[in-house]
């Protein structure tokens, strides 16, 4: 890359030291570091502009047009696309689907990741083994994991893994992802996401746990606090506050961006279609309706931004720590 040839960024390497030269070098240094900043940041800013802001702007443009089978539309429709997409229909249904998904998956991941971290934190033998063994699934792709879940574990026919186990107890095979009632597909979706992301959040909690000073616990014990729940409730949990807020925020955004497992596990059905999957089928799928697709995407972005800001307000994310 061109950034490696920025000799000017290391000012006066060959210049002899001296007061006059030094003053000049300082000025030169400021100028040089500005240039260095742009040389390093420039390509990424250009990328950000080209691949993020231009598409967002173009989406907004498309959302005001009837953009059927074209991304250079001519028929201006104002806010009609927004009205269509926000009136009762598959898009609003999909918003409920992913809200429900977030409601299930965020608390579950939080509790289980924290529990895992506490267990792994206290362990005395084979620490590295236990840390990596829970973290490894994070490296697995959602698509691959979806295929394993769908084709081998929660296969709906009698020889699927889950159904084989049920068969030992004389229970009829269950169509895990084929039916809306009972909604077994939630079990499949949630276990998949837990398996994939627990390890990642466990590591975050583990790092935070290691940051808690031992003295705090010792002081608490001296004051008569019992080890276990009391210490956890009054020492560990408050000390994890910053990490908890960050983790919940990350999990919430991840849940709102849910696409891979829904798309790969389930057929395109109205009962389990989060917004991104719906928008994918509308705009990029067979629909080719870029106007409504863009309007939906912007509504969704606005929603995620709002929830994130609201959460920041409530939990104080981004405030200076203590």
């Amino acid at each position: 890359m061109a950034t490696t040839t920025t000799g000017g960024a290391r000012p006066g390497a060959a210049a002899p030291p001296g007061p006059a030269v030094k003053a000049r070098r300082d000025r030169h240094g400021v100028r040089g570091s500005t240039r260095t900043f742009w040389l390093f940041a420039g390509p990424f800013l250009a990328g950000l502009l080209l691949f993020v802001y231009v598409p967002v702007g173009w989406s907004f443009y498309l959302s005001l047009f009837q953009a059927q089978n074209t991304v250079t539309p001519t028929k201006f429709v104002g806010l009609d696309n927004y009205a269509d997409i926000l009136s009762e229909g598959p898009f609003t249904d999909s918003l409920w689907t992913f809200t429900l998904f977030a409601l299930i998956v965020v608390p579950l991941t939080y509790v289980l990741a924290l529990a895992l971290a506490l267990l792994v934190h206290r362990i005395r033998v084979a620490r590295a083994f236990f840390r990596s063994v829970f973290f490894i699934p994070t490296a697995c792709s959602y698509v691959v994991a979806s295929m394993v879940w769908k084709l081998s574990i929660f296969n709906g026919v009698r020889f699927g893994l889950a159904n084989t186990v049920l068969g030992w107890f004389g229970i009829e095979p269950i169509a895990w992802i084929g039916t809306a009632s009972p909604p077994w597909y939630w079990l499949v979706l949630v276990t998949l996401r837990l398996w994939l992301q627990l390890g990642f959040y466990m590591i975050l909690f583990l790092a935070a746990l290691q940051q808690i000073p031992k003295e705090l616990y010792e002081a608490a014990w001296t004051d008569g606090a019992r080890p276990g729940w009391q210490t956890f409730r009054h020492i560990t949990l408050p000390q994890l506050r910053t990490t908890s807020v960050a983790v919940v925020l990350l999990m919430l955004i991840a849940a709102y961006q849910a696409f891979d497992e829904f798309y790969n596990l389930l057929p395109n059905t109205p009962y389990a279609r989060p917004p991104l999957v719906y928008l994918y089928y509308t705009a990029l799928g067979q629909g080719q309706d870029f106007g409504h697709g863009s309007a939906g995407a912007l509504v969704l972005s606005a929603l995620i931004t709002m929830v994130t800001l609201l959460q920041g307000r409530i939990f104080g994310f981004g405030k200076a720590d203590s």
Partner: protein, 423 residues
């Protein structure tokens, strides 16, 4: 997207750029030096990119490549696309990296928005050799936009031996279908397989036809919102709640594996699967159309299939049209090979269909007869958007148990909004 992927997004972008740069460079190199073998000059020949969806039958991809190679007037590169073909195609068509020649289903939006070009000039000489219905399915405003490659009737396959064992006859009414499915569901073999979505996708249109209703009128107005359709949805719900349907199988309805592996006694599938089924089960299978529902009901076979189109964004539209003319009009030998050597398809050309000996006996001949008598074709005005709406309607009623009257009314409103975008 998963959170652990987020930090690496810029990486993904960069490696994507790098990868696409490499691909572009490779393409450039290939274009420069790849085809000097024949015809002399390397720069003179047009390059045509042709897209197919992934056919399931062995030998199809090799055949497609062979046809492309046999064409001497241009360099045809074949892209064989697995997975969600419609999505890849639609993003290809709006970008500049799309196909020049591709196969798809009739869709008025593609014609009206100028994504595909009319093919009247290349089909003119042999127009009378195609059936009127095939031509109509690919016509918009009197112009022919697609050339039918294959006709693929879809119907119900059943295992003769299993029906005999259960003491039942192949169903001729929808009530019989529910009853037969109940009686066949035993010993770990389910009664009927209609795909991953319990038939709510692939049977959405056939279900409406089976009640005697139509999707749209001849002048493109909503026609499916009839009491008969509501009745049909209720029957379909009854079938679904009988708990005799195979659900959650590893393969979808278009793959005969669930049927040939004995997971189900009956399955909705297409003509293409017939050679495979014959190989696996011998003579132990038969076919029936989807039985009619209600007093105006009629048995239905869905005449799906694929047609070939030329993209308006093709690098050289005339060269692309010339290739289509060569392959799908002139090369009748190759067309016959494509229709009968791998999976079974009915050749859309009358002259070829008459010669296709493999389709003139046994169950294949029966399928051709059903295709002629009970077949329903695609309507180009029934767009992909409307297909999704109708499938949601059926899914909401059949799988989720919502009220059929209100779902039909909702679908009507949404289809009308779609129609307004076209007409």
């Amino acid at each position: 997207m998963s959170p652990e992927q987020n930090p690496s997004r810029s990486f993904g972008r960069r490696s994507f750029l790098r990868a696409s740069g490499t691909v572009a460079a490779a393409g450039f190199l290939a274009a420069c030096g790849g085809n000097t073998g024949r015809g002399g000059g390397s720069g003179g020949k047009a390059a045509i990119s042709q897209w197919y969806h992934q056919y399931g039958e062995a030998g199809t991809q090799q055949a497609a490549l062979r046809y492309a190679k046999a064409y001497t007037k241009a360099d045809v590169s074949v892209q064989w696309i697995p997975g969600d073909y419609a999505s890849k195609l639609s993003s290809g068509l709006v970008s500049s990296n799309g196909p020049d020649v591709f196969e798809f289903h009739p869709d008025v939006q593609m014609a009206k928005s100028g994504q595909i070009v009319p093919l009247d000039d290349i089909i003119a000489d042999v127009k009378s050799d195609f059936t009127d219905k095939d031509l109509a399915a690919n016509s918009v405003d009197g112009k022919v936009y697609g050339i039918r490659m294959i006709d693929d009737p879809q119907f119900l396959y059943y295992r003769k031996s299993l029906l005999e064992k259960a003491g039942v006859q192949p169903p001729t009414t929808f009530d019989e279908l529910i009853d037969v499915s109940r009686k066949l569901d035993k010993g770990g073999v389910k009664g009927l397989y209609l795909g991953l979505k319990g038939g709510s996708d692939i049977l959405a249109s056939p279900l409406v036809w089976a009640t005697g209703s139509e999707l749209l009128t001849a002048d493109h107005k909503v026609a499916f919102d009839t009491p008969a359709t509501v009745e049909g949805l209720k029957k379909m719900r009854e079938l679904y709640t009988s708990k005799t349907l195979l659900l959650g199988a590893p393969t979808d309805w278009f793959d005969p594996s669930a049927f040939t592996q004995g997971l189900t006694a009956m399955q909705w599938c297409g003509m293409w699967a017939m050679p495979g089924i014959q190989k696996a089960l011998g003579d132990d299978f038969g076919i029936v159309p989807l039985p009619g529902i209600g007093s105006a009901g009629r048995p239905v076979v869905y005449n799906g299939g694929w047609s070939t189109y030329v993209s308006a964004k093709a690098k050289d539209v005339d060269a692309a049209k010339a290739f289509v003319k060569w392959l799908w009009i002139e090369q009748t030998k190759l067309q016959e090979d494509w229709c009968t050597s791998y999976g079974f398809h009915i050749p859309p050309r009358k002259s070829l269909a008459a010669k296709a000996t493999k389709l003139q006996s046994g169950t294949a001949a029966e399928a051709v007869k059903l295709f002629d008598t009970n077949g329903h074709y695609d309507d180009p005005y029934w767009t992909q958007g409307m297909i999704t709406i109708s499938q949601d309607m059926v899914n909401n009623v059949v799988v989720s148990g919502k009220n059929p009257e209100s779902e039909v009314a909702k679908a009507r409103t949404r289809v009308e909004a779609e129609l307004k975008k076209i007409v």
